[in-house]
């Protein structure tokens, strides 16, 4: 089962977060992990809204043997990220923000992968496992 939210305006960020929180609750994540997951979704959705204009957040339940968890997929056809190493550095921001977004998401989640091609868009997948 998976479901997604289109991110077009600022309120869609709230919708994506709500979806993530519901799935996290359903899977049995504790309050701290729920907060981590919703915050990660918030960061990713906001990045779409700020930098790509529009895109999509998809939430999937995943299973790997005995392990259960959820994946957050953030996909956009925006301008892409020219220097991936740089955006993963703490404190790097092109918009005057804190620059903690993407490295923060990596720390909030268990697995994190990012693909981006300038002019084509960005795909970020990150997993949180249920302990």
């Amino acid at each position: 089962m998976d479901s997604s939210v289109k991110i077009i305006n600022e309120w869609d960020i709230v919708a994506a977060r709500q979806l993530g929180r519901n799935v996290a609750k359903e899977l049995g994540f504790g309050t701290v992990d729920q907060a981590r997951i919703t915050t990660a979704i918030s960061e990713l959705a906001r990045n779409i809204y700020l930098y790509a204009g529009q895109g999509e957040i998809t939430i999937e339940k995943v299973e790997n043997g005995a392990k259960k968890g959820m994946t957050i997929i953030s996909r956009d056809q925006g301008p892409g990220i020219p220097d991936l190493r740089k955006v993963m550095e703490d404190g790097f921001s092109t918009s005057g923000g804190l620059g903690a977004g993407l490295p923060g998401v990596k720390r909030l989640m268990d697995e994190f992968s990012i693909e981006s091609e300038p002019g084509k868009g960005t795909l970020i997948q990150s997993v949180k496992w249920l302990r």
Partner: protein, 275 residues
């Protein structure tokens, strides 16, 4: 032809209504039906069909008024717009089928009939959808105003101490209001310490943190101190994970502690009265 349609609709109104309700029950959105009782559904349906029929007899202005009244009502009831557009289409179909069966139209007059019914239906689509969306827009803008009213109040609780409780999501617009009310309030209330309570903020991501840091910095610039209170344990952990530096901002877990600190900072304390 117009007269013919009118006559048919008038003389078969009960039949049309019955058929319309039946068809709409089958086609309608689950939401619309669940939202109201059976009695309500029949009542609203008959009002809708009457409205459509009144388009024949009433003047344009009177029809517009009725359409607006009706639209406001169904927006409140939670009928989706598709129910209305679908309803008009079904209405046209019923009239067409009925008139074919009674022999009022045949294959020669069919084109005539469709032209006439389209001429009649399209302005009505326009009027009703317009009235519907206007009612919606009005509802939304009213809610927006209501939301703004409770978005960022600054409350003077003691001499020199003010509190700003934040509840709900913080977006760019709200962040701007928080900043404005905060600075204006600090100056007006002559506050020396401001406590911003974020117990009711569901998610603190980098943007929210950024706005809070900026607000605290701005408060410092006008000569007051800003403390963030109500940081829940899970929020504290996510802030650490995100790697946000809140070292320059004073924080406490509860409002109670915040008030105590604020009183201490303004050289006061609360004591129990000895009997």
């Amino acid at each position: 032809m117009r007269k013919k349609i009118f006559q048919y609709v008038q003389s078969h109104s009960d039949e049309i209504l019955r058929e319309w309700i039946e068809l709409m029950r089958g086609e309608a959105d689950e939401r619309a039906i669940q939202a109201m009782s059976d009695h309500m559904f029949v009542k609203t349906s008959s009002e809708f069909v009457q409205l459509v029929m009144s388009n024949f007899s009433d003047s344009e202005q009177k029809f517009n008024e009725r359409a607006i009244d009706f639209s406001e009502k169904i927006v409140r009831l939670g009928w989706p717009l598709t129910m209305i557009t679908e309803g008009l289409r079904v209405f046209g179909k019923i009239v067409e089928r009925g008139m074919q069966q009674t022999g009022a139209i045949d294959q020669y007059s069919y084109i005539d009939f469709t032209t006439e019914i389209n001429n009649w239906m399209f302005p009505m689509y326009r009027t009703i959808t317009e009235a519907y969306t206007t009612s919606w827009e009005r509802t939304i803008s009213l809610q927006k105003i209501a939301l703004q009213e409770l978005s960022a109040p600054l409350i003077p609780v003691f001499d020199k101490i003010s509190v700003m409780p934040l509840v709900g999501t913080i977006d760019t617009e709200r962040a701007r209001q928080i900043m404005e009310n905060l600075l204006e309030g600090v100056v007006n209330h002559r506050a020396e310490v401001v406590l911003i309570d974020i117990t009711g903020v569901p998610v603190v991501d980098t943007m929210v943190a950024h706005h809070i840091i900026q607000a605290a910095e701005a408060v410092r610039l006008v000569g007051a101190k800003c403390t963030i209170v109500g940081i829940r344990p899970e929020i504290a952990q996510t802030i650490v994970n995100l790697g946000i530096n809140l070292e320059d901002v004073t924080t406490t877990s509860t409002m109670k502690k915040g008030v105590e600190q604020a009183l201490a900072a303004t050289s006061r304390q609360i004591v129990e009265v000895q009997e």
